[in-house]
Subunit: 688 residues, 2 copies
């Protein structure tokens, strides 16, 4: 296989990846600057040294059209023609056909030509469906494209094939188009989207990407064709795009247009340069205006590339940090039409789609930054799991607290103590992230989040609906607001707090303590069920009856938080301080293995792999034969062989739908293999 | 006067200004980098050449404490000590008193010392009120500060005095503190705010700034003491701060902290630098980590300064563009606590305060970017004016349209035509910016705005309330939704439009035209009343009865929009294509002068000035003796002498409350003076 893709980190549906090509490894998400073989404002070498470009794109149709370029490329190869030894992708003339309508080359010719000039990734001559194309017209375009892609696959030889997904503005066609080209491509561009971006129809762009992603294999890089404006990168990456390309840096420079991550301006309208790049730090707009035209163009192109590549760095950092959604929401305020795209994401269908690959926790606090935050896939998942996985403790009524400082059990300690003394046992915080049972208050992102004192009314209304549904479906006892039940307390409603800015929430409590052990045991049990599925608490801790005697919780003397969980003397799991989720031990994995049937919680590996995994080596994608579809990135999982023998446990990187589509990279990072433990047991047996 | 301030442009309550000092003119808003005389990571000269700093701040208490520095400063002067010939401000030890609590210098000593070392702007030793100070405690601090500032004013000599506004977290005290120090200062720092910024209590910070601004004269620069994080600049500038200072660039660099306009990160946590500055374009975090400590600190400090100064450039450009509120709303998504500050701005009291200086139009489209947009001062003004200035045309019912493409009268042309044919005469668009009578659809920002297809529910709820109030108070005829009245039309509600993404609003109309003349005359009349006050249409166009025959509208043959308005053969005003507002001619000014009593619409100038203004020269602040308090920046006004003789007309730059507080700068940019016109009339009379 000429080009392979692996994923090394992820956030939202965005991936940090490595694209392996015959001319080096390309870190993604990234931009392929368009190189015009006839006009070199910035040379390929400079694109590498100044901006860090690892891969370029150029147009094979343009090269083919000019006899000297064509002959040179055929003779020396494309890399020599461009004086570039990194990866190169070529486009096929589709866009020229769309813009000028007079492309005189066939699909077979242009694919063979790309093969012959030894491009790394060549593109079939697909049919560009404009947004104006009706469903039927776009369907015909899509079918013709699928035929051409299939034909190209037969011609391409060693070259990797970019198989473009068309379908116009019709999501059903986009998904179908993706399925049709999926078997034939190595890289999948989403095409026909330039008019949507030019007209800032970002809601339709988001629908097109989401639909294409539904039909595409996860294990290949996805390219958003013709997208090179940094304003769109966070959204497009969050929806799963890995590659972008653009001639905008040069075209805009020619037109005096100045790109920022928040839009585009005309340099002629500016009194000051508003960016810290080397060009803008050294030149005012007036100074640029006095330069010769070529020099000005060159400097503007440099500026455009600096901001474009630095936004990509920012996006990649946001993936590593787990703050990509924050970046998407922030950038969406750059234009009202970007907000429309966020509206698309909160449709149920898209929440379900995005939830399927959303990691279980992040490395930074979740920020609530507007009406879209509460619809984020992670919160959607937790709201759903509260309904499907959470078991309320036995109690005669539920005490409902208003939003408070995090973690809730600490800021509400005095009040909890009061209610506990009065025999209450079930507490829920009506938080700005949704209902949070007090025993889940340390779970990501309930403790690891920052919310405004009072969020917008749309969020509040949505939360009120969530709470009502949760109460009606899951709680069959009366629900009483804390303040309604506590006349003897100095208490303020959220409205009062908001009306009086000098009031703050109560300081560190000094009242009587809460029976720690009870809350902590509830916490471990509820976390286990939320994280692994209903029944996990019983599997890990034994039946509720007698659990207090059976389970011992090791508490950190410094933080007073639960660290380790021992059941019948066996260390079964640890509670992570950073995200309040459980890390299994092998003993815990064995208990879950016994408690949950195949394929639940499992990643099933081939016998060949099982031996290695038992030694503690990670699970590679090509050795996975089945997997629980409920597992999510970051989840702890059980690695079993095809006979369901537990060989290891570890953390999931790819989901069940994704794993089989990757030829490279890890599916599970093993924490502990059974063989290692077995050897240790062997080793210690004699001396025991 | 040693330091004078003038305002050259404005947006929100933010000002583009020029601070004239004995060591040069400083463009504001800007940052004063803190120079530590003992430690020069970056020299003053480099601060100028690399980052464009025009003014520095250093600490006179620290200089005074070190004998060698003190003697050097007294001997050579502060500028020589720092090797810097630009402007310098000095602080007094107040912050050191707050942090370390052991400052051994009196107010009199430190002020005299600052005077003697010839600083440009020296600061009294004020009493730092922490947020913990109760109202009574903070009141005592404030009174002591006021006494010290008054004492300092008696000592300062040639030096400009920075008179700090304290008052803790108590807005009433902040305002009172401002009034107390106002007579004695040349520059006004807002002090005691560092703990608020450290604790990200931005709502209280916004209240403190707004309260201080209520008590301070507009004609002096306002300094937000200790604020140097670019994340806060857009908000602080929009509320009227002109100067910032910070040692953060160096202190953060020392701690490995990396500043961005959206927050702060630790360089050790980063895999890639996420900024296009010269440092980040050339170094990865790993490369920085390998450098010697001093070199790494130096480069991080450079990065911190590049992003800090480039955010100031961005803020200044946003003032020029009229997009400062857009920038504020965008940056507020960087942290939930910044959103809380926006909540403060939508309190009625603050809307009133901010409306008073909000310019009447902007150079770019208004963007709706979230639940706060609809509360912007400009929209608040227009909603208020609809209730107080707008006169509904006579009609038996009102047809209400849903939000549509701009301008509304064009996108709704077919439907308007239909209703006109059925005898309807009054049309209002229930737009996402509030109710818009169809005849005001070209007025800024109704046509010059971009809104999402469906805004958030909080905005929708607020708009529903506005519309209800408008209908109840102002319309005394039935209101009928367009679609309820038009069964013969293919029509979709906004909900349907939203539910079906493939539907778009109707394309360019081809149906029968609207009686242009009627709508245009309504437009001119309604615009006149909204812009100048109720009665302006009668004054400019004569009574409604017979207006059609009296008024001639000159329409651009290209755009088909009204350009000039002639009443009884006299050109009285032009309708500006860019913002749909009226520009008066001298004939129009005369009509308004006759129609509105003193001091309405007037800027009253001294006799000395009147002669010059009649020649077309601009009105300077020190010659204004009175002014209509209803005039807003950008408004057309009548310039009259003290006998109410009309001498000129022009555009207002400063408001009535502001003008008397400025010693420099323009109050009115004259469009036309009576003398010039008189001369022209004289010149043409013989040949006529």
């Amino acid at each position: 296989v000429p080009v392979e893709f692996e994923v090394t980190d992820r956030a939202a549906a965005g991936r940090l990846g490595r694209l392996h090509t015959p001319h080096g490894v390309v870190d993604t998400p990234t931009l392929l600057p368009v190189v015009n073989p006839n006009l070199r404002l910035i040379t390929p070498r400079e694109l590498k040294t100044l901006f860090g470009a690892d891969i370029l794109i150029t147009n094979s149709y343009v090269i083919h059209k000019h006899a000297d370029l064509r002959d040179g490329a055929l003779e020396k190869g494309l890399h020599a023609l461009l004086d570039w030894d990194g990866a190169v992708m070529t486009d096929s003339g589709t866009f020229q056909q769309y813009v000028y309508g007079d492309v005189k080359i066939t699909n077979e010719e242009v694919v063979a030509f790309q093969r012959d000039i030894r491009t790394d990734i060549g593109t079939a001559l697909d049919v560009f469906s404009t947004p104006q194309r009706t469903f039927q017209e776009a369907k015909e375009d899509m079918e013709e494209t699928a035929r051409r892609v299939e034909a190209a696959a037969g011609i391409k030889g060693e070259m990797a094939l970019a198989a473009t997904v068309q379908g116009g503005v019709h999501p059903l066609l986009r998904e179908e188009a993706a399925r049709r080209v999926a078997p034939h491509g190595d890289v999948f561009p989403i095409g026909g989207v330039v008019p949507l971006m030019e007209q800032q129809r970002y809601a339709e762009l988001a629908r097109a990407i989401l639909a294409a992603k539904r039909g595409l294999p996860a294990g290949n890089a996805v390219h958003l064709f013709g997208c090179g404006h940094p304003m769109v990168f966070p959204l497009a990456v969050a929806l799963g795009c890995d590659l972008f390309d653009s001639s905008a840096y040069a075209k805009y420079a020619k037109a005096g247009r100045y790109i920022t991550s928040e839009g585009t301006q005309h340099i002629a309208d500016m009194a000051e340069t508003i960016c810290p790049c080397p060009v803008c730090s050294a030149h005012t707009p007036a100074e640029l205006a006095r330069l010769a035209e070529y020099d000005r163009m060159r400097l503007l192109a440099e500026h455009n590339l600096y901001v474009t590549f630095s936004e990509l760095k920012r996006v990649r950092e946001a993936i590593r940090d787990g703050t990509l959604w924050e970046l998407v929401e922030r950038r969406a305020t750059a234009h009202p039409t970007l907000l429309e795209a966020l509206d698309v994401l909160r449709e149920e269908q898209h929440k379900v789609q995005l939830e399927a690959t959303e990691p279980i926790s992040g490395r930074r606090a979740l920020f609530m930054t507007g009406p879209h935050t509460v619809h984020r896939p992670l919160l959607y998942r937790l709201h759903e799991r509260l309904r499907s996985r959470y078991s309320p403790p036995e109690a005669e009524k539920v005490i409902l607290f208003d939003e408070a400082q995090r973690p809730f059990s600490e800021s509400l300690r005095d009040r909890l103590a009061h209610h506990l003394q009065h025999g209450e046992r079930h507490f829920i915080v009506d938080s700005w992230l949704g209902p949070v049972p007090i025993e889940l208050d340390q779970m990501y992102p309930f403790a690891q989040s920052v919310v405004p004192r009072v969020p917008d009314a749309q969020t509040r209304r949505y939360l009120a609906g969530l709470l009502t549904a949760f109460i009606e479906e899951r709680l069959h006892v009366p629900v009483v607001r804390d303040h309604e039940d506590a006349e003897d307390w100095t208490f303020h409603t959220q409205e009062e707090l908001y009306a009086d800015p000098t009031l703050t929430l109560p300081p560190e409590p000094t009242g009587p303590g809460i029976g720690r052990w009870n809350l902590d045991l509830l916490r471990v049990a509820a976390t286990a069920d939320m994280q692994f599925g209903r029944g996990a608490a019983d599997a890990l801790l034994g039946p509720q009856d007698g659990r207090q005697d059976r389970v011992r919780l090791v508490v950190s003397p410094r933080t007073m938080k639960v660290r380790n969980i021992q059941t019948e003397g066996e260390h079964v799991a640890s509670l992570r301080a950073e995200d309040g989720l459980l890390s299994l031990t092998m003993a815990g994995a064995r208990r879950l293995h016994a408690g949950f049937a195949m394929p639940q919680l499992r990643v099933v590996v081939t016998r060949e792999s099982a031996e290695y995994n038992a030694q503690g080596r990670n699970v590679m994608s090509r050795f996975v034969s089945a997997m629980d579809p409920a597992l999510r990135p970051g989840d702890d999982c059980l690695v079993v062989d095809e006979d369901d023998t537990l060989v290891a446990h570890g953390r999931v990187i790819l989901t069940a739908a994704e794993a089989p589509t990757f030829r490279r990279g890890l599916v599970v990072r093993i924490r502990e293999g059974s063989a290692k433990r077995a050897r240790e047991a062997d080793a210690t047996t004699p001396s025991a």
